[in-house]
Amino acid sequence: MDKGFDELLQHWKSQKGNVIPLLQKTQELRGYLDREDMEAIADVTGKSPAEIYGVATFYAQFRFQPSGKHTLKVCHGTACHVNGAERLDLALKTELGVEPGETTEDGEFSIEKVACLGCCSLAPVVMLDREVHGRLTGDKLKKVVRKVGT
């Protein structure tokens, strides 16, 4: 157990409703949640590891495997859907060979499907790491991906 993680546990230990913040901060620190960390969280919160795993798997935010160097979040909100979000998925599949929920073999890109990024007027949008790209077509998205990949 390293210092950063240990501090986290100590900081949240006695606060009520601490399970989800602990999982969130751990994921922020590590990039994902592994079994050992979840067991440690179970220890300090007085819950069983099964309960902690149950909470973690309930919420879409938590990952149990490391994600790629870059994350592409393809928005599938209503506005993006009617403006062609599915075509963006298809473009990513032909460009990178992976579908939402997967990571490319070289570990460069993870693709996620998200419900709504709230930029509906720019639909369809994709969030690449922290930057939102709007008014995309399959071709434009491929160019965005190629620019980062090189």
Binding site: G17, T78, L90, C116, L117, G118, C119, T137
Partner: protein, 597 residues
């Protein structure tokens, strides 16, 4: 002079940060006596990025669709030369702006959301001060009842009544919760308000806490809204410093502390009992009511939960007076409603309109009509819990009861416009796939019923449906509605039921003719080259990911039907409209040509 740059999430996505940087660099480089501030969402998202210039004599100039180059011109001609650049100006009588009535969003895009001084200068926290120092909690509740305010989260429960129920429950410990788990895909009202005017929400919460007798509060925000979270946390610390939150607020006996809780991505947590379970650190699954949160809520204590926009109305009501507020709107729906207007609309964005306005006015006068002047088909209200309203109902008034009568719901404020290229069967499938995957799994009919309904819809969109599927969909819909514990399951069938009611012929086209009239459902489409229009530019062949589109330069191209995955890239890329999308009988003929289409 002052310059404000709209730095809401969508402004930033459209490039507002670059505009801000350009302004900052130029203003400091040239040592101009102009102050530069960030503000929240100005609202006209279709014109992002936007800036507003305010002059000492009260002049206000709004610029839209800027880029760095245009910004330099505005600096040169307006900030230095004193002459507004007419070609980039958005006139204030622009119908998109002029038809709105801003109460909740009055400060959004006007003040700097990161400055409590700005909020105070806009009469901020005066309502809280008056409530605490001059009014009893009962009087506050009475005022909210008089105003006629109903919950803006969707269901429209009277806010004053909710507060009085929470007040009536004795208990030393009570909680005031703000539901900012805005999960409806296609809705971003709460995000805009939290980003644009976070103090207004805090003030509303504090007034509510005073009214019901709570000393602790939570704001449950979606993790997907990092900017809103950041601004809320900043606003809380500013308010605490000024003793507008915290212990013994303004020297009174009233103390109130607010925590921000980040959601972790579960749509069902917008339901109040699931939301509380999530705050407590559990799986966000709803529980049976009663007991209602007002009796036994968070950690067993009486709890009151209000939506962000509802809370945004509180301080304005106390400031303008409850009876003045009650004049706005219709008999049973008072005040205004904020909508996120999006989809195939010309002028999309955040709008706030008086209750009672018609959908036609919203779509055609404020929204400017349909993109590309295509034909209007439907407007979707209320997200996955709502429904699609057809053209014949466009004169329906926007108020809780009239909208509910159509089979849709007012919802939290998503308003997505659809045109002739939107397939209504696919829309129903889309919403159901959303609710199906977000169902927490507790109730069998919600868990399994939505799955079976989704399978039927998928079958229909693939052209494998039967007419009896439609009856089965309707039967399942009723069963899911009556056998689910929470709003998610109770409303999940609404998109299916409303599309079946208003767009049944589209379902029948899919089933009987294997045709998707909107040309959206991929399995029912075939792409072909219109020989007379093709110039042999080779663009389609270049973008085609499967080498289905091929041809020599300057010769007519063709699409190999055995290789085509119908991704539409060639259709988007072709500059001569030489790619045709076919469906139904024609598609069957195209498919039969195999490699020669």
């Amino acid at each position: 002079m002052e310059v404000f740059v709209g730095l809401g999430s969508c402004g930033i996505a459209a490039g507002a940060r670059e505009i801000y940087d350009t302004l900052q660099q130029e203003l400091s480089g040239r040592k101009l006596p102009v102050s530069l501030s960030a503000t929240g969402c100005i609202g006209a998202c279709h014109l992002e990025p936007q800036i507003e210039i305010r002059t000492e004599d009260g002049g206000r100039f709004l610029y839209g669709e800027l880029d760095s180059e245009k910004t330099l011109k505005v600096i040169q001609e307006h900030l230095i030369g004193g002459q507004p650049v007419q070609e980039y100006l958005i006139p204030f009588d622009y119908p998109y702006l002029a038809r709105q009535k801003k109460i909740v969003l009055a400060n959004s895009g006007v003040i700097n959301p990161e400055s409590i001084e700005d909020y105070l200068a806009a009469e901020g926290y005066t309502a809280l001060r008056r409530a605490i120092t001059e009014m009893s909690p009962e009087e506050v509740i009475e005022d909210i009842k008089t105003s006629g305010l109903r919950g803006r989260g969707g269901a429209g429960f009277p806010t004053g009544l909710k507060w009085s129920l929470a007040r009536a429950n004795a208990g030393a410990k009570k909680y005031m919760v703000c539901n900012a788990d805005e999960g409806d895909p296609g809705a971003f009202m709460d995000r805009s308000l939290l980003e644009g005017d976070p103090h207004a929400v805090l003030e509303g919460m504090a007034i509510g806490a005073y009214a019901i007798g709570a000393d602790e509060g939570y704001i449950y925000v979606r993790a997907e809204y990092p900017l809103a979270i950041k601004r809320l946390e900043l606003a809380i610390s500013q308010a605490e410093e000024k003793n507008l939150l915290g212990s013994h607020i303004l020297g009174s006996g009233f103390s109130f502390e607010i925590h921000v809780k980040e959601g972790a991505g579960a749509f069902v947590c917008g339901e109040e009992t699931a939301l509380m379970a999530s705050i407590e650190g559990k799986r966000g699954m709803p529980s049976i009511r009663p007991p209602f949160p007002a009796e036994r809520g968070l950690w067993g204590a009486p709890t009151n939960i209000n939506n962000v926009e509802t809370l945004g109305n509180i301080a304005p009501i106390l400031r303008m007076g409850a009876s003045a507020y009650a004049v706005i709107g219709t008999e049973k729906s008072k005040g205004t409603k904020v909508f996120a207007l999006a989809g195939k609309i010309k002028h999309g964005g955040m709008i706030e309109v008086p209750m009672g306005i018609t959908l036609r006015e919203v779509i055609y006068e404020i929204g400017g009509g349909i993109q590309g002047d295509k034909k209007f088909k439907a407007v979707q209200l209320g997200g996955p819990s709502g429904g699609c309203i057809s053209e014949s109902l466009l004169d329906v008034q926007v108020d809780y009861d009239s909208v509910t009568a159509t089979g849709a719901i007012m919802g939290s404020g998503g308003m997505v416009v659809m045109d002739e290229t939107t397939c209504m069967v696919d829309v129903a499938r889309y919403f159901l796939s959303f609710t199906q995957s977000e169902s927490c799994g507790k109730c069998t009919f919600c868990r399994m019923g939505t799955k079976r309904m989704l399978e039927i819809l998928e079958r229909i969109t693939r052209g494998e449906g039967k007419m009896s599927d439609l009856d089965q969909l309707e039967q399942l819909a009723v069963k899911v509605k009556i056998s689910s514990l929470c709003g998610l399951g109770q409303t999940a069938p609404n998109p299916v039921l409303t599309t079946l009611k208003y767009f049944r012929e589209e379902y029948i086209e899919h089933i009987q003719n294997k045709a998707c009239p909107a040309k959206h459902c991929r399995e029912l489409l075939r792409f072909r080259v219109i020989q007379e229009a093709c110039t042999g530019c080779t663009l389609c062949a270049k973008v085609c990911p499967t080498q289905a589109a091929t041809g020599e330069r300057k010769a007519v191209h063709r699409i190999d039907q055995t290789l085509c995955i119908k991704c539409g890239l060639c259709y988007d890329a072709c500059r001569f409209n030489a790619i045709e999308i076919t469906t139904g009988e024609v598609a069957a003929e195209v498919a039969a040509t195999g490699v020669k289409a």
